[in-house]
Subunit: 167 residues, 2 copies
Amino acid sequence: MPVERQREKTVSSAGAPRESTPIETLHELVAIHLLRTDQRYTAGRQAVIELLASFARPLSISEISEAIPDVPRSSAYRHLSDLERAGVVRRIAASDEFARFELAEDLTHHHHHLLCSLCGKVIDVTPSPAFERTVMSMVKELAVQQGFEPLSHALDVIGHCAACQTT
Amino acid sequence: MPVERQREKTVSSAGAPRESTPIETLHELVAIHLLRTDQRYTAGRQAVIELLASFARPLSISEISEAIPDVPRSSAYRHLSDLERAGVVRRIAASDEFARFELAEDLTHHHHHLLCSLCGKVIDVTPSPAFERTVMSMVKELAVQQGFEPLSHALDVIGHCAACQTT
DNA sequence: GGGTAGATTGAGACTGAGTCTCATTACAAC
DNA sequence: GTTGTAATGAGACTCAGTCTCAATCTACCC
């Protein structure tokens, strides 16, 4: 019996608009970050940022390409890596084979991810400050033992999303 | 000024032998897991398991291929995905573009990862039971709000390893 | 305005991790 | 031994992601 490996590419919507940072402020912040690394905040980059800001979850490159088809794929990749270098975009490796991108936590808020191992969906969740304090102190303790300098952390919960539980 | 993207493939050693499970017991456990999914525990699969068991960190496919060159790459991939399906191997997406593989926690012990954002090295760290209890209860709380069924979790600490701090 | 240097872009070739196919081999059961 | 199924090796293939290069834009200076 051949095993069908999961190759689902479509990520079900659940993309509620983010309300946290107003878009003008966001653009200003990004521009500042780019300036620091001697980069301009061009139309293509703005389009990428605006798209990422409008979704409350990380987007894959296919979703980005579909949403802004006038930005070529190679440019989209370049924008994303430039923006990542400037510290305004974060690349996350999900449970499937596709990289996903989201605004850096500096521009939004610190959060973690729920990864559905069946459909590949990624859901953002915000931890309580108390939880974060605990995590950060423990992370520090773990890291220091290995001479490791911790800069950030990511807590991913793997499981089944609501939609996949019903099917 | 062109930006040199990090394309380091070599992962510095730090592969201390694991002492936890004796290799015979390990093989028996793996065999049982495979039997459950109607698979045999053949020589190629044993070689992969033995290799993963002998390192205290996740291995990339290149490392696996180099270590057991008589197992073709396509077979190695197949073994790994068969073993993953049987629940004895876990695939982890590191901070770089390369998937890495390690024995599932059922066969070793629950642990988390320190990911070096400079060289891509992955270090295993074992959390204290108290820490894990806290994490698990919070994970459950976060997940349940979204109707998400948590099965496991992964805490990755991103930062700079000892070696990269000195260079 | 024109000139210049450097950043940015689009198009498309290229790379390589990972997958798939298919003929062959190994093994279990009868 | 035969038969059916699982496992394997070789290599073609796919496609996410990268790289190159010529063209274009922009800031800045004269």
